[in-house]
Amino acid sequence: MSSWLFRSLVVLYPKAWRERYSKEVGDLSAELLEAGETTRLHLALGLAMSALAERVRSLHRARFVAVLLGSAALVVVLVVMAVSLFAGNGPKTTPGFIMTVKEETVARALAAAADKAEAAAMTVEMSPARACTASQLTVGFFGSGVGNPGQGITEVRITDASTVPCSLKGYPAVTFLSNVGVPMRVTVGRLPIIYGALATVVLPPGKAASAGFIVASYDFPAEGTACPTAASIRVRLPDIPQPFTVTAPVRLCRLLAGISPIVKGAELAPAL
């Protein structure tokens, strides 16, 4: 891949990612091309799409300006790629070389602006946020799915509906309620924290659900046992005395359930 095109593609990646991995990706791309394992077009499209995915991943919170700028840079580079690759010429022999250089400059400028917007968003995110209060939050059923064999997963999402960010940390306490609102006698345990320590989750203000937790329960009955279903979950979030009631059908075979700590929404099961 010609270095001008690779440079144009690499600037699309988030700055931190670029600084850590761009040399390795460049070396690997060159090796694959030399070995005839791929084509320039295939490689360029793959890198462009991966760059966009990395931008979105790094901006999974509401950083729409940065996403837009990064996407604009992607469009510019894709146009440059289309012109040069489908014309079958590199930039040095193309009459529009001067335009190509200009477009590369525009792509770089847009990507740099996206980096700045991302850095600003990170600064906001890293600043201390006050603990969430009940009046700031909405808590709701997000979906259910299958966990380990025989187990169901119910996902509850938390949204900061106010205009300022706030933070939550720890495990929620839950009580399962029957269809007439009576608490059920369910043994509730805590699911382990698999990676890292228990973390403070900062919820940005807005309508997007940005944190949550999962409820794991058996959805196959053991032999000779019943399999009751809860109609709703009463949720008490850490350090918030007022409970939330979440309408969510949860099969509670064996009357056992496990609760995860509150984590970022992006870390919850995306398939649900």
């Binding site: 070995a35 995915a53 995860s260």
Partner: protein, 105 residues
């Protein structure tokens, strides 16, 4: 990255971890190994997207570069994570194949 993150989004990450469970490899070696045992050909962008997530989660780590090649190896946490994930897949496969066999008989 949590277990749910791995479960939901990263079949490719499982392929990378499975490949590295057989020993350290650089990018080209990973692509060829995964293509060999899974029939999936990862591009450099996709591969490094996986490696970045796995490195951030402490499941793989970079080794010193050899010329222009950059090898990675799996960590103890990575081995445990991929063992859990593959065991879970095996359990689901066993149940699923049993049900399919029952439905076909």
């Amino acid at each position: 990255m949590t277990v749910e993150g791995i479960r939901g989004s990263s079949d490719r990450s499982v392929l990378v971890l499975t490949s590295l469970a057989g020993g350290p490899k650089h990018g080209y070696g990973l692509i060829k190994d995964i293509e060999g045992f899974a029939g999936v050909k990862l591009g450099p962008g996709t591969l490094y997207g996986c490696l970045a997530k796995l490195e951030q989660a402490g499941l793989v780590e970079a080794l010193p570069a050899e010329d222009r090649r950059h090898p990675y190896r799996i960590t103890a946490s990575g081995l445990e994570a991929v063992r859990e994930r593959l065991a879970e897949s095996a359990r689901i496969a066993e149940i699923g194949l049993g049900r399919v066999a029952g439905a076909m008989s």
